[in-house]
Each structure stands twice: as structure tokens, then as C-alpha cells.
């Protein structure tokens, strides 16, 4: 039983070029409902770009994206993004709004909830990430870990079917990483469908259901975490793991 409105997400044969730079070269990724897929790989391998293509912040040149088995490329991209929450490396909270306003903004303007109701729901979300007491602070007055948890609450407030995490702990001080990873673990165990681009090999290995290793715009290897981490078949994955572990 899932506490989230989670869906199944698939990317099929995604190609993307920036000018002559072929960034994604035929990527396939299948994330069944309620599972967590982690995407690992060296910098510049196209992991973060893949996330942005899957919620159409960047339109692919070729390929298809399916949510619950249906292609979403013809839909209004704004409506697609309301179904997919995204958490960024640099948090990207809105600095001119208070913490609770960051979370309630989309509820109020997109879900068209009355102001007090949007605030009440936002406070509920903040409570879930343990930051209700910071509701009326500005993001700048929060630690990085707190800001990232607010960003997670902001994404969750829209009740998304899928959550994307783009190196969500990479910009955090080491002592703050744990709290954010714990929250992500809770979401994964709660049945949220998640795609996690990460350098946290511990999270990838212990929490995710499937791991995809990307390098130079292609999926080099994918499978269950045990298989990839204990019996890597390709030299590229072996090399990558020996560099990061």
C-alpha cells in the first residue's frame, strides 16, 4: 500500500543534442510504480540532463516519455511538471518568499486553493519534514539541510506521482547530508516513485530498487544494486566504482 499517488515512468530511446554535442544517445529508463531508480555516473555523463528531459524542462530531439503507459510528449508540459516533483542540487528555494510561502505558492496559484487552506496544507508538509517551526523564516536563514528539506516539502505539496532528485545532497555540508538522505529513504519506503541522480553510493546501493550507470550519454549498465555494485560487468563501471568507493 502506497501513501503516494505514485505512477510508472518510462523513457524510451531518448536522444538530445546541444549543437554538435550529443548529450543523450538513446537512453532507456523504466521506473515501475512505487520503486526508486538511482542514476549514477561521472560528471557530464548526462544524468541531470536526463531528468530535465523526463519532465520536459528540456525537450528531447527524439524518443518518448511515458507516464502510466501513456506518452506525455503531446501534453501541456506545465501540466506534466505538476505531476513530477523535482529537487535540485542548489535547493532553488525562492529567497523573496518565506518558507511556508515557498511551499504554498503552487497550491495557491496552480491548485487554486484559498490562501488559508494553501497555508494549512503547506504547514502540514513542513511538519512532515520537521520544519514547521521555521514556517515564517526566510530561506536564507536556514541551513543547507533545512533548505533542502523545505524544497522537498515544496515538491511534495503538489502531491506528485513521481519525484526527481538531482544530486540533492551534493551541495550540503557532510553533517547535513544524513537528514536529507533519511527523508528520501522515508519517501522511497513510503511507496513514492523516485528517480535519484546521486553521488551517494550508499543510498544507491541500500535504498534504490534499480541502479542505472550512465557514461557519455549512454546507459552502460543497469540492474539491481547488488548486481551492479558487487559484480560490475563493464570496465567503465568497474573504473567508476573504484574511483568513487
Amino acid at each position: 500500500m502506497s501513501e503516494f499517488a505514485s505512477g510508472t515512468l518510462s523513457a524510451k530511446n531518448i536522444h538530445l543534442s546541444f549543437g554538435s554535442n550529443h548529450v543523450l544517445r538513446g537512453i532507456d529508463l523504466h521506473v515501475p510504480q512505487g520503486t526508486t531508480a538511482s542514476v549514477i555516473g561521472p560528471s557530464g555523463s548526462g544524468k541531470s540532463t536526463l531528468l530535465r528531459v523526463m519532465n520536459r524542462l528540456i525537450e528531447p530531439d527524439q524518443g518518448d516519455i511515458l507516464l502510466d503507459g501513456r506518452s506525455v510528449l503531446k501534453d501541456n508540459p506545465d501540466e506534466l511538471r505538476r505531476r513530477i516533483g523535482m529537487v535540485f542540487q542548489q535547493f532553488n528555494l525562492f529567497p523573496h518568499k518565506t518558507v511556508v510561502e515557498n511551499v504554498s505558492l503552487a497550491l495557491q496559484k496552480l491548485r487554486k486553493l484559498p490562501k488559508d487552506q494553501a497555508r494549512a496544507q503547506a504547514l502540514e508538509q513542513l511538519d512532515l519534514v520537521g520544519l514547521k517551526h521555521k514556517a515564517d523564516s526566510r530561506p536564507a536563514n536556514l541551513s543547507g539541510g533545512q533548505q533542502q528539506r523545505v524544497a522537498i516539502a515544496r515538491a511534495l505539496a503538489m502531491n506528485p506521482e513521481v519525484m526527481f532528485f538531482d544530486e540533492a545532497t551534493s551541495a550540503l555540508d557532510p553533517e547535513l547530508v544524513k537528514g536529507v538522505l533519511a527523508l528520501m529513504t522515508d519517501l522511497a519506503k513510503g511507496g513514492m516513485t523516485m528517480v535519484v541522480v546521486t553521488h551517494e553510493m550508499g543510498f544507491s546501493r541500500n535504498v534504490s530498487d534499480a541502479v542505472t550507470f550512465m557514461d557519455a550519454g549512454v546507459v552502460v549498465e543497469s540492474g539491481p544494486p547488488e548486481q551492479l555494485f558487487t559484480e560490475p560487468r563493464t570496465d567503465r563501471l568497474k573504473g567508476f566504482l573504484s574511483d568513487v568507493l
Partner: protein, 254 residues
């Protein structure tokens, strides 16, 4: 001592000043304020439009904004006011019957300040981290709503000091309206000083006018500095350690 006395007579003739000051309060000050405030409001709206055109994805809109800005910023204010005032004034007179040069002066001042304010807004909006637009779009906001709710408000905040500087410039440039010829009731601070100076042959009325301008502009200058400090330092609030973080997730124990 002759020189000092001569200077005092020229610049600090209290009688000449005393005669001109009531008129400056009653006529000059309101007219200057009306000119500066209306032009400021229209110029700000025009500037925002130009800024949004300047960063739009539509090449034609960008080009129009660029050309407009280059021309209006590149001309001396005197020339713009004369050309617009005498060029379009007769047409307006014919259409509305109004002989007041004020609409033309307001138009010229607005068009000029719009070009400057547009550049101020554009630089402010472009200085906002692109992650802000991305985060807003990822939530499901369209480009327009993201700009309106997230990017533009942050951009404006950053350029408030530059914007106030532009209002100061506008107060000063409003004096150029005298070039268009003003009726007695239409005269603003500078023109009243100029009239009195030419009838008395004494420069003290100009000094009085200068004091009026400074009373308007100096507080604004300090207001700029205040905003600047406020934006740089923010309201201090104590940071708390992130100790709550570790106990939030049940996953921490898993």
C-alpha cells in the same frame, strides 16, 4: 572683502530669494513633482515592458527593445524634449485643443527614462539565478507566471537602488520642460528661479531653486543607501544548528 561681498550679493540676496520662495512652493514645487512622478510611473511601466522584450525569446521583440534603448539613451535629453515637444505638440494641440506643453514634456521624459529603467530592470532580471526559473517551471508554472511570481520580483529588488537613482535623475531632468515655453501657472522650480533671476539680474533665485532640488533629491540619495545596506545585510536572524535533521527521517534508524 569686495569679492566676498560681491559673491554674497550675487548668490545670497535674501530679499530676492524671499520674493521667489512662496511662488516656488505654490507653483514650482507641485509642477516639478507632477512632472517627475507621472514620468516616473510611465517610465517604470515602459521600462518593465522593454526589459521583458529585451529578454524574450522572440527575436523581433528583442530587436525593437534594443534599437529603442540605444536611440533614447544615446540622445541628449535637451534634443529629445525639443524634438518631441515641438514635433508632436502641434498635433496634440489640434486634436485636443490643449496648449499645455506638459503632456509632451511628460511623454519625452517618460520615453527617455523608460530606456534607462528598461536597462536597469533587464540587468536585474538577468542577474537572478536561472535555477529560480527552473524550479518554478518544475513546479508546473508556465514561463509567464514564473517570471511574474518568481524571477521579476527578485530582479526588481536587486535594482531598487539603481531605480531610485533614475528617479533622482528624472527630478533634475524635469527642469528641461522650460524649453517648451510655459505659462505662468505651468512653471516649475527651475523656470521660476530663471524668471526671477533674469528680472532681478541676481542669481539668488537660482540658489533658492537649488535648495528646493536638493531637498527633493538628497533624501532620495540616502534612501538609496539605506536600501542598499538593507539588501546587502538583510534582516539579521539567528541561524539554528541543523540538529533536528537527523531525527526527522525514520530512515535514519533503518
Amino acid at each position: 572683502m569686495d569679492i566676498l561681498k560681491q559673491l554674497a550679493d550675487t548668490f545670497l540676496d535674501w530679499k530676492a530669494m524671499g520674493e521667489v520662495i512662496p511662488k516656488m512652493f505654490a507653483v514650482g514645487l507641485p509642477n516639478t513633482l507632477v512632472l517627475a512622478i507621472i514620468s516616473g510611473i510611465i517610465g517604470t511601466a515602459l521600462g518593465m515592458l522593454l526589459a521583458l522584450m529585451g529578454i524574450s525569446r522572440n527575436a523581433a521583440a528583442r530587436w525593437v527593445a534594443r534599437v529603442y534603448t540605444d536611440i533614447l539613451r544615446g540622445l541628449p535629453p535637451v534634443l529629445t524634449i525639443l524634438v518631441i515637444g515641438f514635433g508632436f505638440g502641434p498635433i496634440i494641440r489640434e486634436l485636443t485643443g490643449s496648449t499645455s506643453p506638459y503632456p509632451m514634456a511628460v511623454a519625452a521624459l517618460s520615453l527617455m527614462s523608460g530606456a534607462y529603467i528598461g536597462e536597469i530592470f533587464r540587468s536585474g532580471i538577468q542577474s537572478v539565478d536561472k535555477g529560480q526559473l527552473e524550479a518554478s517551471r518544475a513546479l508546473g508554472f508556465g514561463y509567464g507566471a514564473s517570471m511574474r511570481l518568481v524571477v521579476v520580483p527578485q530582479g526588481i529588488r536587486r535594482v531598487l537602488p539603481a531605480l531610485v537613482n533614475q528617479f533622482i535623475a528624472l527630478i533634475k531632468e524635469s527642469s528641461l520642460v522650460f524649453l517648451l515655453g510655459l505659462l505662468a501657472t505651468e512653471r516649475e522650480i527651475f523656470q521660476i528661479g530663471k524668471d526671477a533671476a533674469s528680472t532681478t539680474g541676481n542669481l539668488s533665485p537660482y540658489v533658492a531653486a537649488a535648495v528646493f532640488y536638493l531637498v527633493l533629491t538628497v533624501p532620495l540619495t540616502h534612501f538609496v543607501n539605506w536600501i542598499d545596506r538593507r539588501l546587502r545585510n538583510g534582516r539579521p536572524e539567528k541561524k539554528e544548528p541543523d540538529d533536528a535533521a537527523a531525527v526527522v527521517g525514520k530512515g535514519a534508524q533503518a
